[in-house]
């Protein structure tokens, strides 16, 4: 394993709105890692402050949509005096190749503000090794 590096703060990226929204609050893009094994695609999204009850995952044939909501009630009586980051809900979507995943087998887990989605590949999408003669 590579030696542990010093962590840097990543500034949250705000979602640029293409449509008018009824709710004016700013939303953010969760930092996402996507990796693949022969069996499945793994999508990991950072959404600090979001628990499993407040994550919404929608899988359509050609898109994965994830939204995470944070609980603002705990901020109600608080007055900010020094801040380094902003807070808000999270939203992000990714395009999927139609037919590549078995929608019924998708699993999701949320731990420490991180959502981990496993999308098992449909049989026909599993890589086939080409034999070399």
């Amino acid at each position: 394993m590579a030696p542990a590096q010093e962590l840097e703060v990543q500034q949250k990226r705000e979602i640029e709105k293409k449509d008018e929204e009824t709710i004016p609050a700013r939303a953010f893009l969760p930092n996402t890692d996507i990796s693949e094994t022969e069996e499945a695609l793994t999508v990991v999204m950072e959404m600090p402050g979001v628990d499993s009850d407040h994550v919404d995952i929608t899988v359509e044939d050609d898109a994965l949509l994830v939204s995470g909501r944070i609980d603002f009630s705990k901020y109600e009586k608080l007055q900010p005096i020094y801040t380094e980051y902003n807070i808000g809900h999270y939203r992000r979507s990714f395009s999927l190749t139609p037919g590549s995943f078995d929608e019924h087998k998708i699993s999701a887990e949320v731990k420490d503000g991180v959502l981990r989605l496993t999308l098992p590949k449909a049989e026909r999408m599993k890589p086939r090794r080409i034999p070399l003669k």
């Binding site: 793994t42 608080l78 807070i87 991180v114």
Partner: protein
């Protein structure tokens, strides 16, 4: 023209603006701590006597997190691990991982015996009560 009655949706937007306004405010100016270090910290005041620090560190396990308080300094250290196993091929990599060790000094005296820490969903909340000796006392003039 606008009546300006409280709109719950609007409240969130206004709060986000308030957070922006206090971005790197000079409340910590004279102290040694600097900005830019991980993890990022927001400090709030609750009432007139308590401070609340809320710190984001998604993906850090409670077991990998250490907290120390001394005087008016808070030290937060630990490790954030990101691991996808040996055989995965990476399509996209945006998360960062590594060790962290950050000390932040507050310009107020804290009561160390009443400090509370709660870690949930990747967010650490520290309740920092002000020391009695730090609170202003009114003096009666005779």
């Amino acid at each position: 023209m606008a009546l300006g009655f409280a709109d719950p949706f609007d409240a969130l937007f206004r709060f986000q603006r308030a957070l922006d306004q206090q971005r790197d405010s000079d409340w910590l100016e004279d102290m040694t701590g600097g900005t830019g270090a991980f993890p990022p910290i927001n400090i709030f005041q609750r009432g007139s006597d308590d401070y609340l620090a809320i710190i984001e560190m998604p993906g850090v396990s409670k077991e990998d997190l250490n907290l120390q308080v001394r005087g008016n300094s808070i030290r937060i250290s630990g490790r954030k691990i990101v691991d996808y196993g040996g055989k995965a091929s990476i399509h996209r990599r945006e998360r960062v991982a590594g060790d962290f060790d950050r000390t932040i000094s507050l310009p107020v005296e804290l009561d160390p015996n009443r400090i509370e820490a709660e870690y949930r969903n990747g967010m650490l909340s520290l309740t920092l009560p002000r020391a009695e000796s730090d609170k202003p006392k009114s003096i009666k003039v005779t």
